[in-house]
Every structure is written in C-alpha cells, then in structure tokens.
Assembly symmetry: C2
Homo-oligomer: 104 residues x 2
C-alpha cells in the first residue's frame, strides 16, 4: 500500500487528543447523539462540535443528521482504512536489520 503522508496525518489526529479518545470510547457501544456525548464529557458544546469535526475529517467517525439531532458512530470503513495505514507504517520487513552507519 502506497500511502499519502498528509492524508495519513489527518486520519491519526483522531487518536491524538485525550477528549477525542474519550469520545471514541463512548461510541464503542454504538451510535450516539451529540447531546449524549456532551453530557458525558466535561467540555462545552462548541468544543464538542470542534472535536466531532476533526473526527469526521479523519474518517474514523460517521455523522448522520436526523431532525435537530446529530448522530455519530464509528465508521467501519474509516477504521479499516486507518488500519491499513497503520499496517503500512509498522509492518517491518525483517530484512536489513541492524545496519551499520555508512560513515563508520
């Protein structure tokens, strides 16, 4: 998998903030309304909205509007894509280990 560094950085921003991690944990047992997330977190409504935008941009979270309410859930497709990026960045080949410096 050839991967776009800029795009990959955006994806993993989802996991780089304490509050977003808590939000993801809240979404583990299924879709939740923004108001539910808000009452479970210790942040203001605009701050939640800001984090949800970051999570949507990462592709890890899906949003669905229904009337007044906004429902958020973890995106299986987004997670799968992020997993592939993760693998592409961490799957060491096993060959060429312990190289010595060229200038030795």
């Amino acid at each position: 998998m050839e991967l776009n560094p800029k795009k990959t950085a955006v994806i993993f921003k989802a996991f780089c903030d304490e509050n977003r991690i808590k939000i993801l944990q809240l979404l583990l047992d299924g879709e939740k309304c923004a108001c539910r997330l808000l009452e479970a977190m210790n942040i203001t409504q605009p701050t939640l909205s800001h984090h949800m935008k970051t999570l949507l941009d990462s592709g890890i979270v899906n949003g669905r509007k229904e009337g007044k309410w906004m429902y958020y859930s973890i995106s299986a497709e987004g997670v799968e894509y992020a997993r592939q990026c993760f693998n592409a960045l961490t799957a060491v080949s096993g060959t060429n280990e312990n190289q010595s410096c060229c200038k030795k």
Copy 2:
C-alpha cells in the same frame, strides 16, 4: 483492554505529522542511522532530532546509541501496544446500533 487516554494520545502523535510518517516509512526496511534519515529528509538536524524524540516517546521507535551514531528502528513491542490501543478504540460491539436520542 482499559486504556489511558493521555498515554494513548502520546502514542498516536507518531502518526500525526507528515515528516514523522516519512521517517517511519524510511525505517520500514530496518534500522537506520540518524545521519541516513537526515539525508533522506528535507529538514535540519535539530528538527530531525525533535521528531525522533517524539517517536521515541510514542514507543513506536527504538533508539540505540553506538559510538557517535544513533540508530533508530521500529519497535515491535511499541507497534503491538499501539495496535491494541487502536483495536480498543475501534472495535465496535455491534449491539446498540442506531440509538435514538433520549430527548426525541
């Protein structure tokens, strides 16, 4: 797996910057000396040093000093721990999908 939000955020910082992602890509085929990384990247030596510190802090990368040289490699243990964090944050239960808002 119960996970520490603050610690998890630090781990995934490794993947949140374009240059760090390029560094990880360079490490995919095995351990490399800092001077090798430096010549492959378009940044100054102190900037590389800064990113390497972030990568070490994340646990994704291992450092090994040998004489004047510093060798970096992807840490299998760090990657495995990160993978567990990723799974803990994205493994949806499948139950309780499409909840409706309490205030409907």
